[in-house]
Every structure is written in C-alpha cells, then in structure tokens.
C-alpha cells in the first residue's frame, strides 16, 4: 500500500467460550460476506466439540450466576447496555454491513438492542414478584412459589436479525438466571462476536454466555441431544430441521421453545413468554406452628 492513509488493524473474529476468545478447536473458519456478497471476515466455524466445551462452561457458570442476587444480575445486564452504548458505532457498522440495512435502520436496530438489555435488566428483581406467589393452602402451612432458572439453555439465535434478534433471545435467558450456549446467525455472525467482547468487559461472569459462530444445522442436533442441556430455543433452527431437533430434545425432557413460522419483527415489545419458558417454579411448604 502506498499513501498516507493508515492501514487498519483488522479483528480476528473468534468464539466466545468460558469467558475467553478461542478459535474453534477444529481449526475451521468460514467466510462471512456482507449483504452484497463482499468479503467481510473469516469467522470461527464452531464444531460439536466447541459446543460440548461451551456446555461444560455454561454448567460451571450456572451456580454462581443463578445464585447471584436479582439486583446484582440486573446491574450486570444494565452494564452490558452501558458498554454496548460505547461501541454503538461499531455495532451500527457491522449490522448495516451484515444485514444490508441503511445506516438509519441499523442505528434503530442497535438502539433497540441496547434498550432491550435495559428492559431485561429491570426485570431480574421483579420476576419473583410477578411470577411467584404465596399460596393460600387449606392448612397450617406457609406455602410459596418462586421462579428459578431452568439451567443451561441452548439458543439457536435468529438467522436474520444478527444483533437485535440475538439480544432478544439471549437477554431473557440471562435475566432469569440461566446460562447460555448460543449458536449465532450463520451468515451474519460478526455483531455476535462483538457482543461477546462487550459481555467479556461488562461483569458477566465467564461461561454465563458462550457464543458459537457457525451452523445451527450442524450444532443443533448435538445441543438438542445433550443430556446436560436443560432447555433449547429453536428460534434460529432451519425450518426443515426444527421438528427433528425437538424430537431429539425429548430424550432428556428439555424445555423447548419452538421456532416461529417466520422470523418475527424483533422491535415489537417482548412479552414474558420467553422468560417464562426458561424458568421453573419451585414451591416450598413449611408448617406454621408454635
């Protein structure tokens, strides 16, 4: 290169796994292109062994994350929004390139993604009040029900909405206290990797979120069958494979969130169903007596 223009330092896009940024153990990468087909980067192509390692990391992180106070989890999720805000421009660029959006629409998607974290950050310490109950049983017992996280949730993230869609499926999993193994959009994985960098620098303990760039069709079956995965979100599963994944998930009685017929408009207000799907209800009884 000739000239005065500074030569940019490019980023190597890696997996986010157990709090670190490894390459795929398989050594595989694949080319990521922008909406017009131009080369953007090589992404790590996660293998089934990466998925396996991610589940181990997520399981290991579960006790601490699920045991954290709701206030603490809320602050951590809010911190994610804060750090994302700082990288606003980068996200806009990546979303615009990957999804082929105008800069205005890319900005709107990034804004909404950041605001979604804020929304869920505010939920952590309301869930027990809204989804829990004191149960007036017909006897001398104090009886209450509380929501608790299901455990390790595998998330096949939306294929089209690479950031807002991703945040919209990941944040509800985390808000309830679950840990996640996420397979990102195959064609549009770059915002996910950047999100991983945000998560790594925003007090989210390592292993709570594991981001695997790669192919949901390839990794889906391993995660659906994995006995130590408690639930699976099939949102980004290939339509023709979702039923198969759901069947495989039945082997360990996983909680399954079925894919929508078409990828929804993620800018709509989320309800509670996503959080509810990955929460268990624990009911505790104790006698009342002198």
């Amino acid at each position: 290169m000739i000239g005065n223009e500074r030569l940019a330092v490019r980023k190597t896009y890696k997996l986010y796994l157990g709090g670190a940024f490894p390459r795929s153990e398989s050594g595989r990468t694949y080319e990521v292109h922008d909406a017009k087909g131009a080369f953007l980067a090589n992404a790590a192509w996660a293998s089934r062994k990466d998925a396996r390692d991610a589940v181990v990391a997520a399981r290991g992180a579960f006790p601490k994350w699920s045991g954290a106070t709701a206030y603490n989890r809320g602050q951590v999720l809010y911190r994610v929004a804060e750090v994302m805000e700082g990288r606003h421009a980068q996200f806009c660029e990546e979303v615009a390139a990957g999804e082929g959006l105008s800069s205005g629409r890319a900005r709107a998607a990034v804004d909404a993604a950041i605001d979604r974290w804020v929304w869920y950050a505010g939920w952590t310490d309301k869930l027990a009040a809204v989804l829990g109950s004191a149960n007036p049983v017909a006897g001398p017992y104090f009886d209450f029900s509380l929501p608790e996280p299901t455990g390790v949730v595998a998330v096949l993230a939306p294929q089209r909405s690479s950031l807002l869609g991703l945040v919209s499926v990941l944040a509800p999993v985390l808000a309830g206290g679950n840990t996640a193994v996420v397979v990102t959009s195959r064609e549009r994985p770059l915002p996910a990797v950047t999100l991983g960098e945000v998560l790594a620098t925003s007090d989210v303990p390592g292993g709570v979120v594991n981001l695997l760039t790669g192919d949901a069709a390839e990794l889906g079956p391993w995660l659906a069958e994995h006995d130590d995965v408690d639930a699976i979100d099939l949102t980004g599963a290939p339509a023709e494979r979702a039923m198969e994944f759901e069947r495989e998930a039945a082997g360990s009685i996983k909680r399954v969130l079925r894919p929508p017929a078409v990828e929804p408009d993620w800018s709509a207000d989320p309800g509670l169903t996503r959080m509810r799907t990955f929460l268990e209800t624990k009911t505790v009884w104790h006698p009342k007596g002198f």
């Binding site: 006897g139 001398p140 017992y141 006698p287 009342k288 007596g289 002198f290």
Partner: protein, 331 residues
C-alpha cells in the same frame, strides 16, 4: 388424721439430689447442664404432631375391640371431684360409683382411682376400703402450686397421712417458664420423698406451658425427678388434655423407657368427656408408646363426666339400643 403443718417441714432442708438413671447421671449437676440437656431434646413440630393425632383419630374401633376399649377405659378412669364445694357426702357417692359404675351390670369393671383434695382423702379411703380402688389426692397447693416448698410438702404428707395411695402434684410452672429447671426438679424430688410409698403423678399443666417443646422438656424433667406418672393438667386451666400434648408425653415415656428401662405412666386429665375421646386416647397409647401402656398401672384418664358416657356406650353395646342420661347415675 391431722391437718396441722409439721413444724419441721418449714425448715426442712432440700433432700439430697436423686440418683439419676445411668445415661443421665450428670445432667442435673448444674443449672446450665440441665438446661443444655432439656433444650437438647429433639424439637416437636406442632403441625406434624397435630396431623399425626388427626390421622389416628380416624381409626375405626368397632364391635369386640370397642367393647374391650370401653372396659379398658373405665378401668383407667381416675374418677375426680375437685370442687371447693366438695363434701364427705359427695366423695362417698363418688366412691360408690367408682366401685360399681353400672349398678345394672356386675360385669362392669371398677375405675382405677378416686381423685379428691387431700383433706377428703380419708373419707375416700374409708369408702373404698377393700375394693382395690386407689385414693388419689391432689397436693402441693393444687392447682396453682403457688406456695412455699414447706407448705407443699406438708400438703403432701397430710394427704399421705390421710390415706392417699397416689399424690397428684403440680409443678412450679413459673419456675419452669423462667428457666429455673433445677428448682422444679428439686421440688419434685422432695415431693417424691414426702410421698413415701404413695405413687407420684406430676402434673405439668400443659395449658400453661403452651408449646409442645416445653411439654417434652417438662416431661423429661418430671421423669428424671422420679415421677411415676406424668399428667397433663389440673383440669382448672384451658386447654387441658389435648391429643397432641398426650402424644408428646407418650413419646417421652416411650423414649425414657428405651433409655433407662423405667416405665413411667401417663395421665391426660380434663376435657376428655366422651367415649370417642377416650378411645382416641387409647389408640394413641397403642400406636405411640405401645400396648405395655394399655393398663391402669401405666395409663389413667382423669375425668368426671366421661364415666357416664362410657357407661351409656357400654349399655348400647350390651343391649343393642341407645339409652339416655337417666339410665346412668348422676353423682
């Protein structure tokens, strides 16, 4: 018969501490040791105890087993009158009832004892001579127990001198509730000593102890101090005998025998008025402490009106039809 206080009693020294059964030999060595022991007894969950007795209350006792239960209950009754208005006449009439509860049926068993105030023990003794029915006398400033030890001991000696075979003492609930367990213990030991040959029933007055944890502790305290029976109530405080309280006391005597070999009796008193109540208690005894306690030597029911209901039920079983209050005697 004397009703005069023994002048020496007022200055009597506390008798030497009772020798305790082996596993508990040193639990009364100090107030703190005794407290640690009593507070170390397993807790009682009130709701669990209530649901256990509720379940046992559903036992269905019919035909031959009901007949046996009624006669057994009659033979366990401490027929009681503890009124300020009691007179020799009232006591004599009660004694007559005790001997032959159902005049129409010689097969009806006599009751276990007649229970009166100490000053009337002599009358009862005379009226029951030769029947094998015991005279029980309440003592120790019954029912409150609020008197000095000397007065209580004099009360006991007086009743024994009047012929009481059994003494029903009250514990010092004030001392118990304020945590002066050794005081309560020493007092029972002293009373036991004063009883001589007479059997000692220790009334815990569970209606004032309130919690089942306290009932368990008081039961162990009374057993360690030498009580032959532990008894729920004076009948002057409500609630008196309740099934959960009786359950806890039966567990205590069961566990005490398992630990020491000594078998202490249980006497619920007050509030047991119907045959159904009595049978529930027998079932409770049977399934908690076991059949070894299903004898008047080990289980008594302190009652007055209960006997007539037992008799009515007994008549119903015998004749096959129901009768009414005029078919049993009013005493």
């Amino acid at each position: 018969m004397t009703h005069v206080l023994d002048p020496h009693a007022l200055t009597a020294e506390t008798p030497p501490r009772r020798e305790l059964p082996t596993p508990y030999a040193d639990v009364t060595r100090s107030e703190s040791a005794f407290r640690a022991f009593l507070h170390g007894l397993p807790g009682v969950d009130q709701v669990g105890a209530q649901s256990r007795v509720a379940m046992l209350g559903t036992r269905s006792i019919k035909t031959t087993s009901k007949a046996w239960a009624i006669d057994t209950a009659i033979s366990m009754v401490d027929l009681t009158t503890l009124e300020g208005a009691d007179t020799p006449g009232k006591v004599r009439s009660l004694a007559a009832k005790a001997r032959r509860p159902d005049p129409t049926d010689p097969g009806c068993p006599p009751v276990a004892a007649v229970c009166v105030y100490g000053d009337l023990a002599g009358i009862a003794k005379e009226a029951l001579a030769g029947t094998g029915i015991n005279v029980a006398a309440v003592a120790t400033a019954f029912p409150s127990g609020r008197a000095s030890l000397a007065v209580k001991l004099a009360d006991v000696r007086d009743a024994v001198a009047n012929g009481a075979d059994e003494i029903d003492m009250v514990i010092d609930r004030g001392a118990f509730l304020s945590g002066r367990y050794l005081d309560v213990f020493d007092e029972i030991v002293a009373v036991k000593e004063a009883c001589g040959e007479a059997h000692l029933k220790v009334i815990l007055e569970t209606g004032e102890l309130v919690t089942l944890d306290a009932v368990r502790r008081a039961s162990w305290l009374a057993m360690l101090a030498g009580g032959d029976f532990i008894k729920t109530s004076t009948g002057k405080v409500s609630p008196a005998a309740t099934l959960p309280v009786c359950l806890v006391m039966l567990e205590a005597v069961r566990d005490f025998r398992a630990a020491t070999g000594r078998q202490v009796g249980v006497k619920p008193a007050g509030g047991i008025r119907t045959t159904k109540d009595a049978v529930k208690h027998l079932v409770l005894v049977n399934e908690t402490a076991g059949p070894d306690w299903l004898t008047p030597d080990r289980f008594r029911i302190g009652a007055s009106s209960l006997l007539n209901d037992l008799l009515l039920q007994r008549q119903k079983l015998r004749t096959g039809h129901y009768s009414g209050p005029d078919h049993v005697s009013v005493d």
